[in-house]
């Protein structure tokens, strides 16, 4: 016996809309079972995981802080993925943006001006875009697989940052700790309102996502992205260049990731250090798919993923469960999103034929 996936002739439209919600519900139920197995009351555990953080202004701010980079990166990636360019290296572009943006407050720390912050943000976007330009060039000119090149570049960026903060950029007054000097006040992204720490980065994320949504929906460029993504050949007939699309989508997502990077460093951390991201660039891939590659959906998905970080910490404190619970939740969520989507497109068929058996036996 073996199991086959067979494409459905008419996938249900209703269920493909409901799919993320279905996945979410399944995640919550599976999470409840997990808490029960850990010997905790699942209802109160789920309450402090998913509900309690929403009832407090302070934790809403914290959710916004966590969501901002996820939304910003995820929105940029959605353009890439829709146009069939698989940029997996947003984490590296995030770091490249943070480094490029930090040139101003670290190297020119004696220069105080209101231009510091805008320059940092622009440098951050350029840094991220340039770093994404490497896989874009390799794909457009040499037909290299961008999944591999963009992913490999992540590790290079991480190690380069590590070297910078331990070497040339290390602060003279941090007792030899591997951090750069603290950014001056004018290099800090301002907080939004006085009730918490959420900063301007969240506004960037929302504006960027809404802007992309408008572009995808109402402009020729959006149409071009969709057409080239679905059928490159059809796009060519329409006069669209897939090479130019590689450049456009990679540079755009790189710039967004770079902006997220410099916003995180400037708004939340206040300096560079060896680790500046808990994997935002990779989590943003989950966010992009959970949001169905729709920028507005990505806003919701980013907020939800941020909730899992903040809520995970809350249950650790109130119930004393391990901090790994957060990771399990994120994994469950991605698993259910992908399996729901798969089962909407395909049906499972059990094949009992003798042929199937013998051919499988032969393969072993």
């Amino acid at each position: 016996m073996r199991i086959e996936l067979e494409r459905r002739a008419n996938p249900s439209l209703l269920f493909s809309v409901l799919s993320p919600f279905l996945a979410l519900t399944l995640t919550v139920f599976a999470g409840g079972i997990m808490f029960a197995l850990l010997g905790k009351d699942p209802v109160s555990a789920l309450y402090s995981f998913f509900i309690e953080p929403l009832l407090d202004i302070w934790s809403l701010h914290e959710i916004a802080i966590k969501a901002a980079p996820l939304i910003l990166i995820g929105a940029g990636l959605s353009v890439c993925y829709r146009s069939n360019n698989w940029n997996i290296g947003a984490e590296g572009q995030f770091i490249a943006g943070a480094i490029a943006g930090a040139i101003v407050p670290v190297v020119f720390h004696d220069w105080h001006s209101s231009l510091v912050l805008p320059l940092m943000l622009i440098f951050g976007m350029i840094g991220g875009a340039l770093y994404a330009a490497i896989p874009a060039f390799l794909k457009a000119q040499m037909n290299t697989n961008e999944i591999l090149t963009s992913l490999m570049l992540v590790y290079i960026a991480q190690l380069f940052l590590d070297w910078l903060v331990r070497g040339p950029w290390r602060s003279p007054d941090a007792y030899n700790f591997p951090v750069t000097r603290d950014f001056a006040p004018e290099a800090i992204l301002p907080e939004l309102i006085s009730s918490g720490r959420a900063n301007l980065g969240f506004v960037f994320a929302i504006v960027a996502a809404v802007g992309l949504w408008i572009m995808m929906r109402y402009t020729l460029k959006g149409f071009e992205i969709t057409v080239l993504g679905q059928s490159e050949r059809a796009g060519r007939f329409a006069g669209f260049s897939s090479k130019r699309m590689i450049w456009f989508s990679m540079l755009l997502s790189g710039a967004f990731a770079g902006l997220a990077g410099i916003s995180e460093v400037s708004g939340v951390i206040g300096k560079l250090q060896p680790i500046i991201s808990p994997g935002y660039g990779f989590t943003a891939i989950i966010v992009a798919f959970l949001g169905r590659l729709n920028p507005l959906g990505i806003i919701a998905a980013g907020l939800f993923l941020a909730l899992t970080y903040v809520g995970g910490e809350a249950v650790q404190l109130t119930l004393g469960v391990s901090d790994k619970v957060t990771r399990v939740f994120q994994g469950l969520l991605l698993f259910f999103v992908l399996s729901c989507d798969t089962l909407i497109q395909y049906r499972i068929r059990l094949v009992f034929s003798r042929f199937g058996q013998t051919s499988e036996g032969g393969a072993h």
Binding site: V43, Y47, N176, P178, I275, L317, G320
Partner: protein, 356 residues
């Protein structure tokens, strides 16, 4: 679907409220850990202290904790979460939580904070630390007695004064036995990373050291030493389980008594911001049993420990030369605490360049 979600959230809200209402009038004493509470080293020592605290006060207090909190923006959120959740006293147990602790403490003047091993304090932020260098000196003495080559390996974390002080004390202790003793240092640049710590240990063994000591948090180096058949010293917790035939002794941090004392002060309303820096004689650190060594070495170690306890011997007593050959302490002179707490130079005998 939406109805199900709605029903679920409503019932959850009701139950959650009931759960929250039951756990009031206990005083909350909270802990933030940089590593896992079962790391076998630094964080575990703090968690044992926390358990001792909980046992001592029983039902009067609660001791919630957060583990694996990275030093950075997440630390600030974690500490603020503690302050908001009604903690009366928060122990932040890693050097890198210093700035975050100070920042949150400004926002919550009524909550008391205690930061381990840092140098910044405030009206509601106390610091606490132990004179680990006293234990390092004893380790140095043992290492010099046992090492065939007169060469030990030292796995260090960050080149901050605390760690540099430990290396110097180890070398000085060793040189009191063998004036030509040398130590090789590898900077792991982490407190807690079993993989990196093990790699550093392997590299040192490959370079020919025959005794290992560490200033990182996990038992990984001890395990490497056991595999390679050399001796090693445990750090922060008794690591004898990781190397029954390897561990010579360990510096064991015993925070429990301090945690009990400070919690009592909070309950009595007498808590004040202080800078605690106690040593062997106060019991804040103890030496694990001296094992896997000949009796004469054990005797010397015990004598050295007794001398430090009684105050007869200060590990940093001259003559000591700096690595560059210049004089630091004259014959019989004793270093003051200020120099130790800001230590940024090696003494002669360290085979390493201090990262600048």
């Amino acid at each position: 679907m939406k109805k199900i979600i709605l029903a679920l959230t409503t019932s959850a809200a009701v139950l959650g409220f009931a759960a929250a209402a039951s756990a009031q009038d206990k005083t909350k004493i909270c802990f933030i850990y940089v590593g896992s509470k079962t790391d076998g080293g630094w964080t575990q020592a703090h968690d044992i202290g926390r358990q001792a605290l909980q046992d001592h006060f029983g039902d009067k207090i609660e001791t919630p904790f957060l583990e694996n909190v990275p030093e950075g923006p997440d630390a600030e959120r974690a500490i603020e979460r503690m302050a908001r959740s009604g903690c009366a006293l928060v122990f932040t147990t890693s050097f890198g939580f210093m700035d975050a602790t100070i920042k949150v403490a400004e926002k919550f003047p009524d909550v008391k904070f205690e930061h381990a091993t840092g140098f910044k304090s405030a009206a509601n932020v106390a610091t606490y630390n132990a004179r680990f260098y006293e234990g390092r000196y004893i380790q140095g003495v043992i290492a010099a007695k046992l090492s065939q080559k007169g060469l030990a390996g030292y796995i260090a974390s960050f080149p901050i004064p605390e760690v540099v002080m430990g290396i110097n004390s180890f070398v000085h202790g060793a040189q009191s036995v063998n004036p030509d003793f040398k130590v090789k240092v590898i900077w792991a640049n982490t407190w807690f990373d079993p993989g990196k710590e093990a790699d550093a240990a392997k590299a040192l063994v490959d370079q020919g050291v025959d005794i290992l000591t560490q200033h990182t948090d996990t038992t990984a180096p001890m395990q490497v030493a056991a595999e390679r058949g050399i001796k090693a010293f445990g750090q922060a917790s008794d690591m004898i389980k990781a190397g029954p035939e390897t561990q010579l002794t360990a510096i064991v941090d015993t925070w429990g008594a301090y945690y009990i004392k400070r919690t009592q002060a909070v309950l009595d309303g007498t808590w004040k911001s202080e800078q605690m820096w106690d040593g062997l004689k106060d019991g804040i650190l103890t030496m694990a049993p001296y094992t896997n060594m000949p009796d004469d070495v054990k005797k010397l170690a015990e004598e050295t420990e007794a001398k430090i306890r009684s105050g007869e011997l200060h590990p940093f007593t001259g003559p000591i030369k700096k690595q560059d050959g210049s004089d630091w302490l004259a014959d019989g002179a004793v270093s003051d605490d200020g120099t130790l707490l800001g230590m940024n130079f090696y003494i002669a005998g360290v085979d390493d360049q201090l990262p600048k």
